[in-house]
Point group: C2
Chain length 426, copies 2
Amino acid sequence: MPELSLLQRRQRVLGSQSPLFYDKPLHLVRGEGVWLYDADGRRYLDVYNNVPCVGHCHPHVVAAMHRQAATLNIHTRYLDEHIVRYAERLTATFDAPLDTVMFTCTGSEANELALRLARFASGGTGIIVSSYNYHGNSASLAEVTTALPSPEPFAAHARAVPIPCLYQAAPGTSEEQLAEQYAAKVAEAIASLKAQGLRPAALLIDTLFANEGLPRVPAGFVNKAVALIREAGGLFIADEVQSGFARTGEHLWGHQAHAVVPDIVTLGKPMGNGYPLAGLVTRNELVEAFGRSALYFNTFGGSPVAAEVGMAVLDVIENEQLLANARNVGAYVQQGLERLAAKHALIGDVRGKGLFFAAELVRDRQTKEPAGLEARRVVNDMRERGVLISKIGAGDNILKLRPPLVFGREHAELFIDTLDAALSAL
Amino acid sequence: MPELSLLQRRQRVLGSQSPLFYDKPLHLVRGEGVWLYDADGRRYLDVYNNVPCVGHCHPHVVAAMHRQAATLNIHTRYLDEHIVRYAERLTATFDAPLDTVMFTCTGSEANELALRLARFASGGTGIIVSSYNYHGNSASLAEVTTALPSPEPFAAHARAVPIPCLYQAAPGTSEEQLAEQYAAKVAEAIASLKAQGLRPAALLIDTLFANEGLPRVPAGFVNKAVALIREAGGLFIADEVQSGFARTGEHLWGHQAHAVVPDIVTLGKPMGNGYPLAGLVTRNELVEAFGRSALYFNTFGGSPVAAEVGMAVLDVIENEQLLANARNVGAYVQQGLERLAAKHALIGDVRGKGLFFAAELVRDRQTKEPAGLEARRVVNDMRERGVLISKIGAGDNILKLRPPLVFGREHAELFIDTLDAALSAL
């Protein structure tokens, strides 16, 4: 029998449906900073991964993990200084009254817990999400997911609302009108829940709308939507799994761009630079009230190792000034993408915040017909050229560009030049 | 303002309801093998924690984590040798046809995913659990939980069945009769679901029944219950979060004692010796069919770091012969507990498997009245005497004794002597 390839062995033990990137999957063996290395020693510029937000295998984070794992790694049913110090430092980065944290291991667990809290606090069950959302892999989240296939039918207690984008708006529509039109859809969704006898519990959104393709959301839309859910007795849950930890270059948290304080903020992916660390931050009285009715315990959540890793990530964000870097290098990348848009008609729109960009590929700048096949070819060609990106959006035609935050100008130049070449070769 | 204590600071940032062990919580700073050290340098024998199954901060596991975290830590959308090798080694420890693994980060996520798979495969929604169960902290699990408070009402699609215990059986009842009586309750639960128009999806149990207090389950009960759920079209999910990884001293997996192969086995706590690593093992066709309808992805699940940590745990279990140790030292502890039972009337029953014991405290050996207050005093007194244990069961009167698997005879002696002293001092 011929020896099985790594891909065949993987398919045998993990199943053939476990998702892989690229038509020709990449076999990685090493990571460092913004670089990933394959089994043949070739290096790739990582313009996709936000989990290693301070860079792959950052020595300060690795050292913190190692030191604490060699000293004490235990659950939160004992007193421990590390988790208290980390919780104090983390909550201090949020606006009042967000002062209390519950730790989990994954963003899915954080959003799952947020829904439990919101339902408890509101007495309702209704959930409003965006019409192209993904917030996690649990059953409660799968049944409100619209961006990925799941066997669970869309929940009767959920409503999906479209997110407005100025790029896609009908000509002549003002920003204010667009915000009003789409806020009206949130109001309709709430009315529809109520008509069915369901009390709204939460509006669950990522205020950067990453899965939706970073739409150019009109000013005021998020604030109006939040006002509506609160008026209806529901809570506003801001999912910062993608937009948090300095990603936007403006604030540490994505929701801060909207000058609205959420009721619950959920955290995940970049929080531990790859160590499974996540959680939610909310008002103290919400945690206290929930805690009087529920014994919530997460065995690995909030361990001393998780705390030291989380602390080390915050250290690096501060010490290496990654918020300013996201802003400065982000602006540089934005200019580069705009130059490419001027050259390549395929790029219908370029938008971004900090070090998170979307380049929407269209077959026709008038009709804005999604160029999904072209996007796929670009993503795969970029991989062959040594630059890792991905794509998102309902039409699968929006390039998703989201490098580790230690991305520098030299990396930006390499990325832009390679994208230019890939677009020219189409 | 006076400086806040660590406990006060913790309550402020984590909430006052976040659970802590002991009337006087323990402030830990270091762990090694079966020992935990507090902030004053005092050491405690750990007779409670199963997560550090190969011992606190085992150097082989810490080194594997460190080495891999410094090299590559990425999700499973790239090819990676570590996760394939670990999946191959892990699945090889299961009986056919259990050959495929899906990785998660926590036992809650594993059980949550198992329910999604079972519902998909069976086309049903009904869940049968034990009447004193806890399988995780998600909404779907909270609504079938009976052992912990949760604000979610017990689900209309769930039924809780009592687990038989020979110690609690009416005098004159044979083991076979008891198994039949309680299997009949499973049949009733299934009939009750069907009467409500609900198709059964799964029987979800820990075959060691750890939360229930390690009852002396009559031979044949588990097999009968499994046959009934399968006959009704549902799946058998064996939760090995507590009973797996050599804990029972007989087999690597607790369910193997019943000579029945589950449809899905869920794994958690000890799997990564404290690193957030969990998952489920099932038949390939189940994963394939689910995967064609659902895109399941777990960002941190199955990372190279998780794989290397999991591999290191299996190494230590093998190299240090911890299955045999659990059997041998377990038998020695069992004898010690039986000696104490002969001496102290408070101990109504002693039972265990490998290195997992329950000592049921009763006020009267005839009425078997639960001695919950006494159990609490013993647990707290043991802590003062430097030995960490806990308690379980519906009456909160069953001492829960579950040390790391590197527990030796000298530790067993210290534990038995200390328990003797604590019981004598009551």
